[in-house]
Point group: C2
Chain length 251, copies 2
């Protein structure tokens, strides 16, 4: 299996709860790492809500050679998504074994000279996560959470799963922490703030950084223009987290 090659490092991006921005963080961290000179592949393993074709702005389908998928290029990275394998608007009404079978195809694809494989997991602690961990032994996992208690409760469950399966938790990213009013420019915290940092400290897990609830990130993401590409303020936030992640994975 390709991922067994010692030169390739697999990093899982997970969350307990969905809708916390895990896919957006995965895409932009992958791009930020590529901009730092790394050769990066991105696997969209979110079987029931594959968002990467939308986030990366391409409907291109992967080709295949000798029964191995060839990833699609976008924004300086290569990626494969379960969303490339089904039509938009149609449900991926797959039971666990079907979903994990499809995921194996993505992991075993022809990733060429990619040094890092970022895997955007589905939220939660189910079949797909268990199978990925058992088969591919990720070098580490990053957990994304909003500062809200309800999100942190589930983030703790995700950390617990990775701990139990002996996958190092490289850190927690707090997303949607601060929102700047477009009318008055003042910051407020619709989902609270600081909760993920406090939870990380309590669990003895590194805190990788904080991202805002930003209309720019949301609109760019919906439009398939990842903000990590453009070099602006949001790009800097992703680059800072990517640098910390790279440091964590080396240790």
């Amino acid at each position: 299996m390709t991922v067994a090659e010692p030169s390739r490092t697999l990093i899982a991006i997970g969350s307990g709860k969905g809708g916390v921005g895990k896919s957006t963080v995965s895409a932009n961290l992958a791009i930020a790492l590529a901009r730092m000179g790394k050769k990066v592949g991105l696997i969209d393993a979110d079987v029931y809500g594959p968002s990467q074709p939308t986030l990366l702005g391409t409907d291109a389908k992967p080709t295949a050679e000798d029964d191995r998928l060839i990833p699609v290029e976008a924004h300086g990275i290569r990626f494969l998504s379960l969303g490339q394998l089904v039509s938009p608007g149609h449900a991926l009404a797959w039971r666990g074994p079907m979903a994990t079978g499809a995921l194996a195809k993505l992991v075993e694809a022809d990733w060429g000279d990619a040094e890092l494989l970022i895997v955007d997991l589905p939220p939660g602690t189910g079949d797909v996560q268990l199978s990925l961990i058992q088969r591919s032994r990720p070098a580490g996992a990053v957990i994304v959470s909003t500062p809200q208690d309800l999100s942190l409760i589930d983030a703790r469950r995700a950390v617990d799963l990775f701990n139990k399966m002996s996958v190092p938790v490289l850190g927690i990213v707090e997303n949607m922490a601060t929102y700047v009013c477009p009318h008055c420019g003042e910051a407020s915290h619709p989902f609270g703030t600081g909760g993920a940092e406090a939870a990380a400290a309590e669990m003895g897990v590194p805190f990788l950084g904080r991202l805002p609830l930003s209309m720019n990130i949301r609109e760019s993401s919906d439009a398939g223009r990842p903000p990590a590409v453009d070099g602006g303020e949001d790009a800097q936030a992703f680059a800072t987290i990517a640098a910390k992640l790279l440091e964590a994975v080396k240790h």
Copy 2:
């Protein structure tokens, strides 16, 4: 099976994407329906992120009689949650068949004189949803989405799943549409607005209403005081949607 009794109506609350407020909407609609005089049971079927014990503010465990679970009472409704069956902070690292087996126990519990059973589904279109639909034949489904494109793409997948399985989609609820700045009082739309209503029209599905991104709802929810209980502005928003839902389920 209890749910086969003709006098009990099962309504599934789903979403394509997680983190859109599905559990908050489920809890508050259940309470709003109870305040309208209905006898309501709530099943928290979100296997990987069971939020109802937090949302309803009780850690009480269900008892059992003749191998049937007795639901816990809170805020005028009865409920059972997969979260009552595990310790907080521990991962529900269940594969599909285990999850659906646990869910069956909740559906087949002693729901007494409950006329309506609201089922808070996990996000997506996986094992739990397929099994619930096949075994319990819900009278209808409600889909919760934010106005964001990424959320609506997955909401369409959820509608497609229910359509394919001949479960009427009773309507779509748009959540987190408007945020009022606590500094200047002006409204803005971090996740956009109107997208879910437009998507509902396009899919030929009723639009049940719009809920704000409200710090009151978030804080009350984290604290286990569902806003539908207190009779304020947010309670009114849930009551309006509950009334439309009751109308839809009669037809």
